[in-house]
Symmetry: C2
Subunit: 133 residues, 2 copies
DNA sequence: GATAAAAGATACCACAATAGTATCATTTTG
DNA sequence: CAAAATGATACTATTGTGGTATCTTTTATC
């Protein structure tokens, strides 16, 4: 059971690094050095962050990445969603189909409560806060 | 991100069914019918439940399964552990090695808090309670 | 304009965990 | 002994994650 995958983890760390540079354009080689993530993998992660609107990219010589949002407006639950899809702790699947009892299932109800808590807690953490910590 | 795998889910449901029968010995065909889980898969799950001490098994004609514990003493976090191993929401891995910064990592600190909450909440739910619900 | 340094797009491979199947052995009751 | 049950175990399939490789496009600078 893993809350954050490596994708997400690296995504958060990359974001934190880029944000820390206060608007300076940061390119991949620098990030590779700082985060010790394999370059092609990191590139894919960065492309995802661009597509999801967390950072802006600049092509060509001297290009790189800059935050697209203020640091205190980037919530890690959003980053997690970008890499892992919606945060759902249980799916109530019966084989491939949705379980027909999910409306009344007491287990689902309990898990849902826990899930809400997780999402809400993850939703309180911003990149800004991680940088302070 | 999934809190409970299908294994665990079926395990919980099977346990609940067996417990509900109040000590009557329940055999696989009945469980297959009730839970609509493929027989060989369910058998494997039941064997796991036996090995982990949640139920007792009886071989031979008229055999089957009975709870090994009182219903209010079976916590679903334990069932989850039986199928999924220890509940850890983040692993702080850097490539294959443990991340060297994990002691001071603010992200890890936050995730750890959430993890503790999840485990504690899962640790409050018993099979007995699910049957009441 | 050519060159080089950057990111974009995309397709592919590797590995591990989960999900599920199949087969044979053992036990027990009648 | 036969039948009905579980035990043990090995195998296959599917999926998600992690990671690589390659080619295209953009842009600054000489």
């Amino acid at each position: 059971m893993k809350l954050l995958t490596r994708n997400t983890d690296y995504g958060i760390r990359a974001l934190a690094f880029i944000v820390k540079e206060e608007g300076r354009v940061v390119a991949v080689p620098e990030l590779v050095k700082a985060l010790k993530v394999p370059r092609p993998f990191l590139r894919k992660i960065l492309q995802r962050l661009v597509k999801k609107g967390f950072i802006k990219s600049y092509k060509g010589v001297g290009g790189g990445f800059r935050p697209a949002l203020p640091a205190d407006n980037i919530y890690i639950v959003e980053v997690a969603k970008a890499f892992q899809g919606p945060v759902t702790l249980n799916e109530c699947l019966l084989k491939k189909d949705l379980c027909p009892n999910r409306k009344v299932c007491p287990l689902k109800r309990k898990i849902d409560r826990i899930e809400k808590h997780v999402v809400s807690e993850l939703g309180k953490i911003t990149i800004a806060e991680l940088l302070k910590g």
